[in-house]
């Protein structure tokens, strides 16, 4: 039993779910998550399963502390997201979420690159459905772009894997050496990890996902990328600076955003930047930091998307320019959202504080002064947007006389539990630290650390207060790297679809016209031929003048017997050839 890959339960659950009665599906969703968690708890560190497939030695499951730590939080958010979405009666979304969670777990425990690739692609398709399932024209387009980008990334991954296999003869998923194959694989992992300039799919698609879908989206894709980067590329210096750029990039773009879920999406990029930096640092402390921050990030970002989803659900609006003054109508949602906001901002007593400081400590131990300073700057920006700007302009700020509808109890239940976990980790960091891949010898609650954080965040609040007038939403969108494929898209559509289509249409029309003309000509060949031949006169002619008047095809048709005679003669000739000459 301990050798059953945890992904299997969720994937089989996805197949079973549509067969269950409608009322039982949400409960079954939770049951599958609980069974998966039970399986995870029984997995033994260091165990693996091998399989011979065609000519390859595969390792579909390989367990270590790194994969287990990510696995626990993946199953937790599946369960919490399942509770949040109990109200939802959409089997398609539930199935997609299960496949998405299952394939993400599959990636975590994949011991070889082939298994990884299969789950990787499955993840892309299932997650795209969570965007498409919103069933609006915008989400259809965003979901299609998302899918195309990820399928492209998957193709690059496959190319890298094949190259790697050709070079090394091994498909085992281990740390990569520098080389073209590794660069291709790194490209694909970076795309899923949303490292600029490969990040635009995230801010494009996540805000267009369904309310519950975005909760799952915020958890899996980028964090599986962090995991595979940690496993394959730990210690690559490039990632240190890529992560720092991400952390700042997300914050800068979040200032300009008007859509609350897009703003949160940019903060995913920013927070994943911390993890990528830690992976680049590559020390044991840093890998602990990346894992811990991924763990708490999944919980607090899930909570933030749940909060934003609750606002969208009850008001049907998601733009800052259309929201405001909801505090009195939605005090509970506000309180729960604020737990997520304090967590992401790294406030003492919340989860982000104990995980983010692990990353900063790892950078400090490597004496990366500029990196540490820039990550502090990203922390300032995070609190500015998620902790101050969003709550102020959604729940306070301009009064717009909105009449929000009721929020289902399951949404509250999901948010309460997720908030509880964020606080629990903040209060008892050992809950998190004991799950880390390496022993954590760090105490976050020192007077010095607490005071520097409080100073940093209090005076960020002061800056916000001074410039509050500049921070209100504006009815604009922000150009990002998706411009490079969205703007030329109509041109490429015209070249590759419209132009080709018109060429085919023209050829088809001409072919049909030709066929029609030939049919007409063949219906009366004599008349057709007579057009081009001289008329009969005293000196003779072709004798086709009568054909203009009357043409009887039977007159020129040979009897069937003639055709049979020809065929038989051919056979006789062939036979004779074989017998006498062959």
């Amino acid at each position: 039993m301990s050798n059953v890959p945890p992904a299997v339960v969720l994937l089989c659950g996805a197949l079973l779910l549509p067969l269950l009665p409608r009322w039982a599906r949400s409960l079954a969703f939770l049951l599958f998550s609980v069974v998966t968690l039970a399986l995870l708890l029984r997995l033994e560190e260091g165990s693996s399963t091998s399989l011979r497939f065609l000519a390859f030695d595969l390792v579909p499951m390989q367990v270590d502390r790194l994969s287990l730590a990510f696995g626990y939080v993946f199953v937790l958010i599946t369960f919490l997201g399942g509770i949040y979405s109990i109200y939802l009666q959409d089997t398609g979304q539930q199935v997609a979420a299960l496949i998405y969670a299952g394939s993400s777990l599959g990636v975590l425990f994949a011991g070889d690159l082939f298994t990884l690739f299969v789950y990787w692609e499955l993840m892309a398709v299932a997650s795209a459905f969570l965007v498409l399932a919103r069933r609006t024209e915008r989400s259809r387009r965003a979901g299609t772009r998302y899918l195309l980008v990820h399928l492209f990334g998957g193709s690059v991954l496959l190319a890298g894997i094949l190259w790697h296999f050709t070079d090394t003869g091994s498909l085992l998923f281990d740390r990569f050496d520098y080389g073209p194959a590794a660069y291709l694989i790194l490209f694909s992992f970076s795309l899923n990890g949303a490292i600029p300039p490969l990040h635009a799919w995230l801010a494009d698609a996540y805000p267009e996902g369904t309310i519950t879908g975005s909760v799952f989206l915020s958890a899996f894709t980028t964090k599986t990328a962090v995991y595979v980067l940690a496993r394959g590329f730990a210690g690559w210096d490039f990632l240190v600076w890529a992560g720092v750029i991400m952390a700042i990039y997300g914050v800068v773009f979040a200032v300009l955003e008007n859509d609350i879920r897009r703003l949160l999406a940019y903060h995913i990029i920013s927070q994943v930047g911390y993890m990528v930096t830690a992976v680049g640092l590559g020390t044991e402390a840093a890998i602990n930091g990346a894992t811990a921050h991924a763990f708490s990030h999944i919980l607090y970002k899930g909570l933030l998307f749940m909060g934003a989803g609750a606002v969208l659900y009850s008001t049907n609006r998601s733009k800052l320019t259309e929201l405001g003054g909801l505090a009195r109508a939605m005090p509970v949602a506000l309180s729960l959202y604020m737990v997520g906001a304090f967590s992401i901002s790294g406030f003492p007593l919340f989860s982000g504080f104990v995980s983010k400081s692990l990353v900063l400590q790892a950078a400090e131990l490597r004496h990366e002064e500029t990196v540490v300073l820039l990550l502090y700057l990203a922390a300032v920006g995070t609190f500015l947007h998620t902790g101050l700007k969003l709550p102020y302009f959604i729940w306070f700020g301009p009064q717009r006389d909105l009449k929000p509808g009721p929020i289902p109890w399951s949404m509250y239940a999901g948010m309460v539990l997720t908030a509880g976990m964020n606080v629990a980790i903040g209060l008892y960091p050992r809950l998190l630290y004991d799950l880390m891949p390496f022993t954590v010898d760090y105490r976050p609650y020192t007077t010095s650390h607490v005071m520097e954080t409080i100073q940093l965040l209090t005076f960020t609040g002061l800056g916000f207060w001074f410039l509050i007038d500049k921070l209100g939403g504006k009815p604009t969108i922000t150009l990002d790297f998706d411009w490079f494929y969205r703007k030329p898209a109509p041109f490429f559509f015209r070249v590759t679809v419209v132009l080709v289509d018109s060429l085919f249409t023209a050829a088809e029309v001409r072919t049909l016209n030709l066929a029609r003309a030939l049919a007409k000509a063949c219906a009366n060949p004599a008349q057709f031929a007579s057009r081009f031949l001289p008329q009969s006169n005293a000196r003779g002619g072709w004798g086709l003048d009568d054909a203009k008047v009357f043409y009887d095809p039977n007159r020129y048709r040979h009897p069937v017997g003639f055709a049979i005679l020809v065929v038989l003669s051919c056979f006789v000739l062939l036979l004779a050839w074989n017998l006498f000459l062959g």
Binding site: E137, R138, R141, V251, V252, F253, V255, L256, E364, H367, E369, V372, L373, Y376, L377, V380, G381, L384, T446, T447, S448, H449, M451, E452, T453, I454, Q455, L456, L457, T458, F459, T460, L462, G463, F464, W465, F466, L467, I468, D469, K470, L471, K474, P475, T476, I477, T478, L479, D480, R486, K487
Partner: protein, 78 residues
């Protein structure tokens, strides 16, 4: 512009400087030179916040902000 009561800001600053004076005398905030400067994190928080907002707004106005229907000017996909 809304203003926080000046007293609160000054009080917070004095408090943090006081705390820094006590802490930095013993252990400091970390291993870098700036982690031993009194009130560094207060100043960094404030200036970082202002710089982030102003820089983003500058980039936005200069290059990045576009009308909402930029990718769909004819409103075909709404």
């Amino acid at each position: 512009m809304r203003r926080l009561p000046l007293m609160f800001v000054c009080g917070a600053l004095v408090f943090f400087l006081g705390v820094d004076a006590v802490i930095l005398g013993e252990v400091g905030h970390g291993g870098f030179w700036w982690s031993h400067v009194y009130g560094f994190f207060s100043l960094f928080g404030f200036l970082g916040c202002v710089a982030t907002i102003l820089a983003s707004k500058f980039f936005g106005k200069k290059w990045l902000e576009r009308r909402e229907n930029y990718y769909d000017p004819k409103g075909l996909h709404e």
